[in-house]
Amino acid sequence: MITFEAFYAAPPALTAHAPALLVVGPLIGACVAALSPNSRWAWMISVGSTIFAVWMALCLAGEVARQGVVNYYMGGFAPPLGIAFRIDALGVMMALLVSSVSAAAALYSGHALDAEVRSSKHTLFQAGFLLCVAGLLGLVSTGDAFNAFVFLEVSSIGTYALIAAGERRDRRALPAAFNYLIMGTIGATFYVIGVGFLYAATGTLNMADIAARVVTLGDSRMVQAGFAFIVVGLGLKAAMFPLHGWLPGAYAHAPSLMNIFLSATATKAALYLMVRFLFGVFEPGSDFAYHFMAWVLGPLAGAAAVICSIQAAFEKEFRRVLAFSSVAQVGYILLGLSIGTTAAASAGFLHLLAHALMKATLFMAVGGVALHFRGRTLDDFAGAGRDAPWTMAAFATGAASLIGIPLTAGFLSKWRLIEASLAAGQIWMVVVIAISSLLALAYAGRMLEAIFFRTAAPGAERAKEAPLGVLVPLWILAGFCVWFGIDASLPESIAIAGAQALMGGRP
């Protein structure tokens, strides 16, 4: 694991409480933002508390590098009585991802909100955004199964309304948000049912404790049902392939701030929780989790990577293309996990990081141009490359990474995935990744073709360069896309540490 000494120069008292402060910081920020007098204040609070969260995540990274696993007991009560946060290398990876993407999104939001949301609601919007951030950070840090549900809902309930707030530009945001609400709540309720069965079987809610007790139960039907309901419930939240129907609409019509933040983090946090259940709770006890991954998760992930890429290739609207592509890319991550080796899992996590970066870049570029521009379809963006060269160059960087062109982050993660599947003898996965990459070339190529090689129809509304406040976070993200393609030691060490924490020493 790389060293973070340079970053976690925090007083030890702060470092010791970093797990709690990671969540509570944005939470307090949300309350203060809701109380703040105008949107400028709210924006500054939003940026401040997300940067605070990044700092805390870095502190945690240092702690995890030193101790391996950080446990933090809420209220001073050791589990199973109390709620414990349990953060390992994988949790730190997710915390870093969520907090840094949220900081970039918060920086970006200063301009975006003015264009997209009624000014009287800016403070509320920032408050809701910070609640989502706090919810996701809690979700990735908690070691308590029911506490995870609470944080899942904290982030979701904020999300529903913030997606629906996209109505001001596009009323389709409303049915999309409603649909997401229904599906998300069914998913959360399934998760609660699953946790209920586990609780009935083991009598405890702490995940480590459940894992220790599930081992002794063997093939109990309660455990099987708990497994099924948790996987389906979190699969709904994570938009796993056949359950992804809510995602394209919700992402495509949301305000661009939510769009960037959600596409990079929300489904991945749910995915992370599912992975923790699969590997941390069920897998040690019996092999049905293993069979499930090989025979259900893998094929579904492959189908997602191909089918959703095809759907993306036939979409006309920019954001919908990108949203379908997200489902396909989640397929890659799951492919890596379903192989079940440490190398494959680390490749999956590397792709998770790379995908978060490039999707954030892509959505931010589209959102940045759309601040003063109502275009949404491929045709509308014709000639945008000439009108907004800087923004669209960043878009092209992200798209190159999406396709997997060498020297971008996406190339390396796909390469690692192919290596891992070859090592595991899963030739079909290589084929799937190749086909899906070709399809990515098709849909990303269509977008790039429209942007750079077509000229705008005479009289059509023209795109405008995004303001500097958008370009800065945008190019930071795009820069990371390239940097991680050239020198991937940082994300790879994080991903490998995460995979090792997850797999616990398996090959």
Binding site: E153, R171, P175, F178
Partner: protein
């Protein structure tokens, strides 16, 4: 007791869940869907509470075993049970599911409020709250290449 009797509670609660899920999925009316969702969520709570019931127990509010109420409870449960499962002479039901479901109920009402608020906005934007009609309206507009912002 037979399995039917010992598991009657669970089965009844599951029937409630199925009812909620059916109402949720079978209708296109958004408000009705929220009602179905609320039933589905609440019945999950009832499942937890069923798990936490202890026969012969009382609510988890500490009682004095020698008080009249404590005596009556002990008489009902039987001395052997009290000795085995009681805490300081009184059998209580399990408080943990109660705490969890308190949380779940509150989450449920939060979801309900936000969902209904979105439904109200939908009615203002589309003039209907039927899924079919909303989809039809969207298809028409998307085909025409225009998307209206909500009023």
């Amino acid at each position: 007791m037979s399995a039917v009797l010992t598991h009657f509670n669970y089965v009844a609660v599951i029937v409630l869940m199925m009812g909620g899920l059916y109402i949720l999925l079978s209708t296109g009316n958004l408000v009705r869907r929220m009602i179905g969702l609320a039933i589905f969520q609440t019945s999950t709570g009832l499942f937890y509470i069923s798990l936490g019931k202890v026969s012969g127990g009382t609510a988890a509010i500490t009682l004095d075993a020698v008080s009249a109420e404590g005596q009556a409870l002990a008489a009902r449960a039987g001395a052997e049970q009290v000795a085995r499962y009681g805490v300081e002479g009184v059998i209580y039901s399990n408080p943990l599911p109660h705490v969890l479901i308190l949380t779940a109920i509150v989450v449920g009402v939060a979801t309900l409020a936000v969902g209904l608020a979105i439904a109200v906005r939908l009615r203002e934007a589309y003039g209907t709250i039927e899924t079919d009609e909303i989809q039809a309206l969207d298809r028409v507009l998307t085909a025409a290449g225009q998307v209206e912002p909500a009023p």
